[in-house]
């Protein structure tokens, strides 16, 4: 008998026969008055930076002023993020991406491979900046997964703030392996 067959047979024999219905999660669908305000407070509280911009030109200007070195992006105005070998991103100072949406309750942005172009792009640069439309903020993770629905991505990630660790005596340090900062530019359209 293969290990697979052996495991499945043991599970079938031992799993409880009680029906155990799945719960209804509709009760968690609360609306929030000002999702942007909540998103801003939460993300700032976990080390991210939130900045409202008038238009994308203003965003580009801000980033060029505040970051030196190699900047790559899937958006216009910067060196296009290369699709080739991810190791070629090792010297990237800042990567600028467009978030698909964000979540107010935890300050996370959602992005999938189509908007990332290169999976490593969100992790390997020294700094990360994300463009987010103000109308693209949902209240909770339940809303988030409803919005994702049955989307057919290869890879998707929620990112909430800069990479961090508190493994040394619970002292919080920003910039563990991934980006040291995360800037979310919020476009009020």
């Amino acid at each position: 008998m293969s290990s697979r067959a052996e495991i499945l047979a043991a599970v079938r024999k031992n799993q409880p026969s009680s029906p155990a219905p799945l719960p209804d999660t509709q009760k968690f669908w609360h609306e929030v008055d000002d999702v942007y305000a909540q998103f801003n407070i939460i993300l700032s509280g976990i080390g991210g930076k939130v900045l409202e911009i008038k238009n994308w030109e203003a965003g580009q200007e801000y980033l060029k002023e505040h970051f030196n070195g190699r900047i790559v992006s899937t958006l216009e105005g910067f060196e296009p993020l290369p699709e080739s070998d991810p190791h070629a991103l090792a010297d990237v100072e800042l990567c600028v991406l467009q978030a698909q949406f964000a979540v107010a309750e935890n300050g996370a942005i959602w992005i999938t491979n189509s908007a990332l172009r290169q999976r490593a792009a969100a992790f390997i640069p020294q700094h990360l900046a994300v463009l987010l439309k103000k109308s693209d903020i949902v209240p909770t993770m339940h809303h988030a997964y409803a919005r994702i629905g049955s989307a057919d991505y290869d890879f998707g990630v929620f990112i909430a703030g800069p990479s961090k660790t508190a493994d040394i005596e619970q002292s919080l340090v920003l910039g563990a392996h991934g980006p040291r900062t995360m800037t979310v530019l919020v476009l009020n359209e």
Binding site: N14, Q15, P16, L22, K27, I46, A90, S163, E169, H177
Partner: protein, 459 residues
């Protein structure tokens, strides 16, 4: 990790020799518990309802696990992942080694996976000529110190920054005596970045595997799972088979609970959903049983398989906080470890269900509502029934049962005890009596309640 046959009380004793360190350990973990409370309270009444929903989803998973595993496998294969099945730790380790050998990899990076600790993968791979670098900062630290993790979320919570500074000075060439966490983390960042960029094989754990879509989710704060997986040519993801959840939408429930319970964060920095391998790369998923199907068949203990490995039960446990994770001599320590470990080996881990006051705090904080403290009590009964209690415990319990079931003997024993407390206090307050450790002998009562009652009752 080297397995030891020492018992929890002995190992806890060793940890307790340094009182300042115990106090520091206790306070550090209690601080994390308080952060968890604040995070939970932000969700107000939803928090308890979410715990119930998570528990209900996991009940549904356990009742339909075989079907969900098959559904997950079909979906994962359709996504282009290759699925492997391992009945036990040895088979898991062989599968991982075989995958590495098939691509000619002799070096691998690994992000946190308690399953691979359970299977002793690192030692096995090292014996077979594979170099493994742990990339979670805490895990890298204990790897350099040649120790196992003492906590499932904060693996080196038992280490002081000065000790880490010494380790880094020795292995990474940092300045002697510089114990600034910022400086040490920066040094580790540079050291591990080089590994990420040069290794062709990456192994990660799995936090949740979705039956409906065949994708799996890995949660980290450091970004080490992603750095490893996206830069390597082969990604091996190892999961205990209980990691399955039915639908993608259920992640809404679990991701709201996980980080809040673990560290008090609203969510981990990265919650990465791996569905298909990137172009030109390979994605392997290893589904491991290693005793889980047996635990599933133990009605009283099966819901320990609902665990999402947040560590909240450890942070709140008065015994864990004061005895340290290594005193549990198992990859997973604390209250949850004490109910999982006896399933793996009743003889070796017979001591663990006793490492508890049964106060119930673990059950109160568990995000999936596992009745941990009740299971600790039930394991004691199970271990005694199946002959795994120690001789001393058996003799003491036999004696107690005899005394308590004979009123005359009970009264006589009480009298003798009170007499001894008055006249021979050293017969009780000596170092051979474990009860007397860190306790003062109380003044003996003049009479038992029964004697007082016989004298004072209204006739």
């Amino acid at each position: 990790m080297t397995k030891t046959l020492a018992q929890h009380p002995d190992l806890a004793d060793r940890f307790n020799r340094d009182e300042n360190r115990v106090d520091w350990h206790d306070q550090t973990l209690w601080w994390v518990r308080q952060k968890r409370d604040r995070a939970a309270h932000t969700l107000e009444t939803d928090w308890e309802a979410l715990r119930q929903a998570a528990s209900d989803i996991k009940d549904n998973v356990l009742a339909n696990l075989a079907d969900y595993l098959e559904q997950f496998e079909r979906a994962a294969q359709a996504n282009g992942a290759i699925v492997h099945w391992a009945t036990d730790a040895a088979e898991h380790n062989r599968i991982v080694l075989g995958l590495l050998q098939s691509v000619g990899a002799t070096r691998m990076i690994k992000s946190k996976s308690m399953l691979t600790e359970e299977c002793d993968l690192n030692d096995f791979l090292a014996q077979n000529g594979i170099e493994v670098i742990d990339t979670d900062l805490g895990e890298r630290i204990i790897q350099l110190a040649e120790e196992g993790p003492s906590h499932i979320v904060m693996p080196c919570i038992h280490k002081k920054k000065e000790e880490i500074s010494d380790l880094f000075h020795e292995h990474l060439g940092t300045e002697a005596g510089n114990a600034d966490p910022q400086y040490l983390t920066e040094a580790a960042r540079g050291h591990l970045r080089d590994k990420f960029l040069t290794r062709k094989a990456a192994l990660t754990g799995v936090n949740f595997a979705i039956a409906e879509t065949g994708e799996f989710v890995v949660c980290t704060n450091e970004g080490n799972a992603d750095m490893g997986a996206h830069l390597a040519d082969i990604h091996i993801a190892c999961m205990g088979m209980e990691k399955i959840i039915p639908q993608r939408a259920h992640l809404g429930v679990f991701l709201r609970l996980l980080a809040r319970s673990a560290t008090g964060q609203p969510i981990t920095t990265y919650s990465s959903h791996f569905r298909r391998p990137a172009a030109g790369k390979a994605l392997h998923i290893v589904i491991v049983d290693n005793g889980r199907s047996r635990q599933l068949g133990r009605e009283e203990f099966r819901n320990s398989l609902k665990c999402i490995r947040c560590g909240a039960c450890m942070n709140t446990c008065p015994v864990y906080r004061r005895s340290g994770g290594h005193s549990y001599h198992n990859a997973v320590g604390g209250p949850i470890g004490a109910i999982l470990a006896p399933n793996l080996d009743m003889h070796q881990f017979a001591d663990l269900p006793y490492a508890s006051t049964l106060c119930g705090s673990c059950s109160n904080v568990c995000p999936v509502k596992i009745n941990i403290h009740e299971q600790l009590y039930l394991w004691r009964q199970e271990l005694t029934r199946s002959g795994h209690a120690t001789q001393g415990k058996k003799a003491a319990m036999g004696l107690a049962a005899w005394v308590l079931s004979n009123p005359r003997i009970y009264r006589l024993a009480g009298k003798m005890g009170r007499w001894a407390m008055r006249n021979l206090p050293f017969s009780i307050n000596n170092r051979f009596n474990p009860w007397y450790k860190q306790r003062e002998l109380p003044a003996p009562p003049k009479a038992s309640f029964r004697e007082w009652y016989l004298k004072n009752r209204v006739k």
